[in-house]
């Protein structure tokens, strides 16, 4: 379970289940994760088909919010529990994050346990690499030493690339394995071209390491920083480090300077998300019953009481008049029940806000979608997102995951909030140049939807732009900048509220490396969609870092 048994809390991780059956089984593997404060667990289900005598390994993607309690793995067929295994969880196995090391030699990172932060190492093979980038959420650093490109699937490769581009940290180590590395797409991500092996007697970067050591000759690429012993650059929002030496070599495993070197790798700067999970708190959690609904109900109730009084009076006087009483009651019961169903529907809605953050130069964007299921009158729900958008509830609660993108369960009357993250193609990029005349921006939005209510955010000021179509090239008038200040009360409109949150965060956030300003705007405009059982209010915001000079990396 987890990464070599280590469990980064609330991060997606694999639960591997080895199965073998004597009879054919067509069922599902269910992983029940305890949820503090609830009797029922959070369940992760995956269909499975077992053939007699054929062992099978199933990896169920799950996340564990708390390591107190017992995790249960069940094999269920036709609604019947066929097998069950309880796995006690331990707080000792909970970690802040993990370092994944893809190496044939599973040793050399033991010193991580000496760090003040609870970061632990897990030695993996190619088959352990997640097929979706969200599978890396608990990973602080991915170290690649021995890599066989043929051992990974196209989905694993895409997940790997997307993870680094959206803000992951990758370290590729040198020495002989780097020289023989044959993965063009991975080599393209490196900040230097690896050459042949050379022996170095003594290096200033590795002072104290007994020489000679075998290192890979590096030729830095344009935009990369570093020297002969290592190179680095940003890859999208992430970071790629290349070391010319092999830190797993015996001489470096006992080197006194290794902790500082690894700590620098663990803390390599990456671009944080503009929309962190806490931003979802700005979503509404309830919606009061509309005044018109209450008035109509009052009118219906009054009409019913009057009608029934009339029918009762008639019943006592006219022969067969009593028939009017059940008739009136039945007609009003049906009408009022239908009305109540409509009121319930009006009160049940989904409010969702997607914040698309363009990753400059990659043609990709990372998207965080906050969705609030407002269900004041309860009921059951099924929520399904795009397959590459993995969801987590803001607060752990008993829910069923048929996949990381499909949740169902009983709707909480206090509302359910989920966050979904995904990486999508984004044909949008922006540049900014500063001159004596002021700031000039160029927005390239060919192939993308129009951007409304666009504004440039820079140094605590905003500049309102006209709607952006395919292209916008504009010199900004220095007199039209406005200071940004939060409104005393959050705006009623959800889209406005999130716009304010995003701008406030950009104002607080240190400027992204290489970015001069930010473009923030709305895409598509907020719209309400009426479904058979609920209403959906969807809003989309887009955030683009406007780069200045050509940056390193893509």
């Amino acid at each position: 379970m987890g990464w070599a048994g280590w469990i980064p809390l609330r991060a997606w991780l694999p639960v591997r289940v080895d199965l073998q059956a004597s009879l054919p089984v067509d069922g599902e593997v269910v992983v029940d994760v305890p949820v503090q404060g609830y009797d029922a667990p959070m369940s992760f289900r995956q269909p499975v088909r077992l053939l007699p005598g054929a062992p099978q390994r199933v990896a169920v993607e799950a996340f564990i919010p708390d390591t107190r309690g017992v995790l249960t793995v069940r094999l269920v067929a036709s609604g019947r529990e066929v097998a069950r295994r309880d796995v006690p969880l331990s707080t000792a196995r909970a970690v802040e994050s993990v370092v994944l090391a893809l190496t044939h030699e599973p040793a050399g990172l033991e010193f991580l346990s000496e760090l003040t932060r609870k970061i632990r190492a897990a030695y993996i093979t190619e088959e352990d690499l997640p097929a979706q980038w969200q599978g890396y959420t608990g990973v602080r650093l991915l170290v690649i030493r021995d890599f066989n490109e043929r051992a990974i699937s196209p989905a694993q490769r895409r997940g790997f690339e997307q993870w680094v581009a959206q803000g992951g940290r990758l370290l590729v180590t040198g020495g002989a394995p780097l020289v023989t590395l044959q993965a063009p797409w991975l080599l393209r991500m490196l900040p230097a071209d690896p050459g042949g092996l050379i022996n170095v007697q003594r290096s200033d970067d590795l002072s104290g390491v007994p020489g000679p050591i075998s290192v890979t000759a590096l030729r830095l690429r344009r935009g990369a920083a570093g020297g002969p012993m290592g190179a680095r650059w940003r890859w999208g929002s992430g970071s790629v480090l290349l070391w010319a030496f092999d830190p797993f070599a015996p001489a470096l495993r006992s080197w006194s300077g290794r902790a500082a070197m690894w700590t620098a790798a663990l803390d390599a700067p990456v671009r944080p998300w503009v929309a962190p999970a806490e931003m979802g708190d700005a979503l509404p959690a309830s919606r009061p019953l509309a005044g018109s609904v209450q008035v109509w109900l009052l009118v219906l109730s009054g009409a019913y009481i009057l009608a029934v009084r009339r029918a009762l009076r008639r019943a006592g006087r006219v022969r067969g008049g009593w028939l009017a009483v059940p008739m009136v009651a039945t007609i009003f019961a049906l009408a009022m029940y239908g009305f109540a169903l409509q009121a319930r529907r009006a009160g049940t809605s989904v409010v969702q806000v997607s914040i698309t953050e363009v990753i400059p130069g990659t043609g990709l964007a990372r998207v965080r979608t906050f969705a609030a299921l407002i269900s004041p009158y309860g009921g059951t729900f099924h929520l399904r997102a795009a397959e590459d958008a993995w969801m987590q509830p803001a607060e752990p609660r008993p829910l069923t995951f048929d996949a990381p993108f499909a949740i169902s369960g009983n709707a909480a009357t206090s509302g359910l909030r989920v966050d979904a993250t995904q990486v999508v193609p984004a044909p949008l990029d922006g540049y900014a140049t500063i001159s004596d005349a002021g700031l000039r921006v160029v927005i390239d939005n060919r192939g993308g939807p129009n951007i409304a209510d666009a504004r440039i955010v820079r140094g605590g000021q905003i500049y309102r732009l006209p709607p952006i179509g395919a292209m916008l090239s504009l010199s900004l008038d220095p007199t039209r900048w406005e200071p940004f200040a939060r409104q005393p009360h959050p705006p009623d409109d959800v889209s406005d509220r999130f716009m304010e949150e995003v701008v406030a965060r950009l104002q607080r956030q240190p400027p992204a490396p290489g970015a001069i300003a930010w473009l923030v705007g709305r895409v598509g405009g907020g719209h309400a969609v009426g479904g058979p059982a609920l209403q959906i209010d969807a809003h989309r915001l887009v955030v683009v870092p406007l780069r200045g000079a050509l940056e390193g990396g893509p």
Binding site: Q294, V308, G316, A329, M336, F339, R344, Y377, G378
Partner: protein
């Protein structure tokens, strides 16, 4: 049709006092319905979604039980309706009187459940509950109210003093509704509130049928007791 039932029904449907009674009943139920509407109410842990529908049904049931038994016991007098004492002096057979009075109580209970239906339907609709839950509750509610009505009829002829009658009536109501609820399992199902909750939450299980049977048996026993009492009154009247 039983002549006593026919006459009672006419007065219990359309007399001015009956109209006031039904209107009062409907206004109370309507008020409760409005109070249960705010979405935030369901956030209280104690008041889960189904709990509000159940609470609404229990209030309807308790009110129906009270009104049915109070009318039968003479605590609430309906204009024009003849009491068992008056009917004892008539030429109707004692069995007809006893059966007619108990059937009047059953019809009155059914009428009140029918009248409350649209309001309970609002609560059920907005909370996503099935209308079948109301029908299941009505089965228990009407049977219990009939039993209380039959008991009230018996008290009306047993006790001449208003105070004694009211005392016996209220004691019976409290003993069965509150006291029954305090009994250990499975006997607590004898309380109409408890059996109604079982019927709504778990369906019409054998326990529910058993309790409904007990209520109907009680009503049947009361028919017999009232009949005997009417016959004794007639004998006493003839001998004096």
């Amino acid at each position: 049709m039983n002549p006593v039932l026919r006459a009672d029904l006419r007065y219990r449907l359309g007399s001015s006092k009956a109209l006031t009674l039904h209107t009062l009943f409907l206004v109370i139920i309507a008020l409760l319905t409005f109070l249960s509407l705010p979405p935030d109410l369901a956030r209280l842990d104690e008041l889960r979604q189904g709990g509000l529908v159940l609470a609404s049904l229990i209030v309807s049931a308790v009110l129906t039980m009270y009104f049915t038994s109070a009318c039968a016991a003479g605590e609430i007098g309906i204009d024009g309706e003849k009491s068992v004492w008056d009917l004892a002096a008539s030429s109707f057979p004692a069995g007809t009187i006893a059966l007619g009075k108990v059937l009047s109580a059953a019809s009155f209970a059914a009428l009140q459940w029918l009248l409350a239906g649209p309001f309970v339907a609002v609560v059920a609709g907005i909370r996503g509950e099935s209308l079948m839950a109301i029908l299941r509750a009505a089965l228990v509610g009407i049977a219990a109210a009939t039993a209380f009505g039959a008991t009230g009829t018996f008290y009306s002829i047993m006790f001449e003093s208003d105070f004694a009658r009211s005392f016996a009536h209220w004691t019976t109501l409290l003993a069965v509704i509150v006291g029954g609820n305090a009994l250990p399992s499975p006997w607590h199902a004898l309380s109409p509130v408890r059996s109604l909750a079982i019927a709504v939450r778990e369906g019409v299980r054998p326990t529910v049928w058993l309790v409904v049977g007990v209520y109907l048996l009680t009503a049947g026993i009361c028919v017999g007791l009232v009949r005997r009492r009417v016959e004794r009154i007639r004998i006493e009247a003839r001998t004096t």
